[in-house]
């Protein structure tokens, strides 16, 4: 934007100090200082060295990495959730919370067991189409479970007692445990992707700047008004 003026040359620490003092310093905060901090905090974290896995076995971690690529794949607009650091994010939180670690240890073990049953191979070793078949089955089962939540009791023939018809709880989906795990790996992967610089760029998010003046671009206004009932 034309009213966005990045500044690269000022000593960052001094600027943050002057910002932090704020009113106690009884001086008007410098626009330049504000802008500089906005730019700095964004740029500084882009760097990432080699990550050391804290929680998962190499096999588990590889599966998380493969899931990240499948859940948010690279396309013409942006990279994948793997590029955005989703496995690091999951591993870090799992290292801080045994509850998350257990969800993933157990879920990954369930996934490989189910894959072996279906395809005689672990998730990572299976063919790409087998991997997506598995995930499709989990998505489908998840939708079914969600629909059922409001109609737990159904009037149906009992699957166990041949002569009984009445209100019974529908049989749980066999993939129930997998659905719960997939929900976890998906939401954490999606979170890691969209909170990263890659995800920001994918959505074309352009806020969090210090501006001297707030302006709404004419072309955006005209675009929406033209397509609205008020055209």
């Amino acid at each position: 934007m034309s009213n966005f003026v990045p500044l690269e040359t000022i000593d960052r620490r001094a600027l943050i100090r002057s910002l932090a003092l704020g009113l106690t310093a009884m001086g008007a905060m410098d626009m330049e200082a504000a802008q500089h901090v906005h730019v700095e905090t964004g740029a500084e974290k882009a760097k990432s060295g080699t990550y050391k896995v804290k929680t998962f076995t190499p096999g588990e971690y590889k599966t998380i990495q493969q899931l990240a690529v499948l859940i948010v794949p690279a396309d013409t607009v942006s990279g994948s959730a793997l590029d955005a650091g989703a496995p690091e994010f999951i591993d870090t939180l799992a290292s801080q919370n045994v509850q998350i670690a257990d969800i993933f240890h157990g879920g990954l073990a369930w996934l490989d067991a189910e894959m072996r049953k279906r395809y005689q191979a672990t998730f990572v070793a299976a063919k790409p189409e087998q991997q997506t078949q598995m995930l499709d089955a989990l998505v489908e089962a998840g939708r079914e479970l969600a629909e059922r939540q409001s109609e737990e009791l159904v009037y149906q023939k009992s699957p166990i007692y041949k002569d009984f018809t009445g209100y019974t709880v529908r049989r749980a989906n066999e993939l129930g445990a997998g659905v719960a795990f997939f929900d976890w790996v998906r939401k954490m992967t999606v979170d890691a992707f969209y909170t990263s610089p890659i995800g920001f760029k994918d959505l074309n998010y352009i806020g969090n700047q210090a501006l001297a003046k707030y302006v709404v671009p004419k072309e955006a206004m005209e675009y929406a008004l033209k397509r609205s009932p008020f055209a």
Partner: protein, 571 residues
Amino acid sequence: MPQNAISQEIFDAVVVGSGAGGGTAVHVLTAKGLKVALLEAGPMLDVGTEFKEHKVPTDYDHRGAEEGGKSYFGKGKPFGFFSTTSGGWELEGEPYTVGEGSQFQWFRSRILGGRTNHYGRMSFRFAEYDFKPYDKDGLGFNWPISYQDISPYYDKAEEFIGVAGTIENVPSCPDGKFHAAPPPKVHEMLVKKACDKLGVICIANRRAVITKNLNGRAACHYCGQCGRGCQSASAYSSAQVQVFPAMKTGRLKVFDLAMVREVLTDENGKATGVLYVDKKTRTEKIIKAKVVILAASACESTRILLNSKSKEFPNGLANGSGMLGRYLMDTVGFGLSGTVPALEGMPHYNTDGYGGAHLFMPWWLWDKHNKLDFPRGYHIEIGGGYSMPGVGSYHGAARRYGYGANMKSKIREGYGNTIGFAGRGEMIPNIHSYCELDPNVVDRWGIPVLKFHFKWTDYEWKQARHMEKTFAEIITAMGGKVAGLSASQRESQGISIPGTIIHEVGGARMGKSAKDSVLNGYCQTHEMKNLFVMDGASFASNPDKNPTLTINALAWRACDYLAEEMKKGNV
């Protein structure tokens, strides 16, 4: 209590609580040359560490999910990791209880500046009719003061804290002393056009944000992150705008982590100071002062008065009327959202602005109540735009679209196309909504806790249904699609849970007579001339206008009065 450490100093005034009311009190009183002690139940505010303004998720390896992914288990901060909220509806070691059949959630901030650090900063004056609601419809209570009494103090408060807005001449929402307001964003312009069609008034929002430099505070730099705290103090917070400057006068002494238990009195029927628990040492201490000002929040101030029991005052202090804790009110809240096709594919731009919406809808049917099935009114707040992606932003979309390339492009296409409306309405005070001391529970400081009772009535439910209908009409008029509620959703989300809008007021209401009210029009207790309550507890009604600006104005007016009375020797 001879074992308690008593401060040597006798202050002119002791102020309990450092939010909008307490902040205003210490500013006005120190400016008049008084020596003031300020007690805050939380720690001092360190703007540099507490405010996460300007940060992005990758500045933290948890990305905002908090240490160990707390937010995934519903145990994160109430408004997210980046908000400057220091407190919440549940505080460890400081419980409250709720009566059977009631729902109430009590939000408490424990930090210098209190809730002004994170609040929405909506700053609307009460209308003339808001001070005489009983005269209008025979419900609730009139205030002992009129708009003319408080208007000069709205001026002072607005000029000092700084409020951006525009002059509009809308009777339900009187104009004030405004800084220039920023222009409407695109989705808000569509809302305005829809409102014009529907006969709903839609004007520039009024928020406590300065758009030109003021008293050493820099003009807003439009990062839109007021909820994270504002390091340049462009958005009002009592800590930065009132308490820190008051400390510089040398006449204010701040005691942090000081949890007040009760107001102390002498045999002449005067308040002599307060007894507090020093949280750092877990010891009781006493501060002596000529005047005691409670501004600990509506319910906390009420609690202190209820706990100030003695032989002379067996039901608590200033409670001769038995009204202490009665007629507790929150704001009626309801929200509805939808998607707007006209926004699809729009060239993205920075929608941060001065934080919050740039337009809002004040109550527009103030003279049409004969056509409505509920009394009083509400205003409408607008949500939308390209906000910073955060943890949890796309869980719903991910579940809807599965995974993979399709999910990714659907999330991309849907970004910024959503519009949301939140209604904020006036409840009628009722006898079922009150707080009292729970005789069986104390907090970790040994102080008896509050027990809440609360009920919405048909007045509030019908108002919420009117909100729902109106929001759906606006979304439809914009060419949008309403994300409607199912019958079961309406049952559970059809009206806000009491306390969750965090506009709880009343409990020590002001009135003309000592027989049926706790305070007079100057926030002074009827029963004790040197005891004041300068927070939302004084409210006789809870108009749809967010309470903070009126708390500022009432406290300012009360301090002017108090200083005059001290001069005359009446206090």
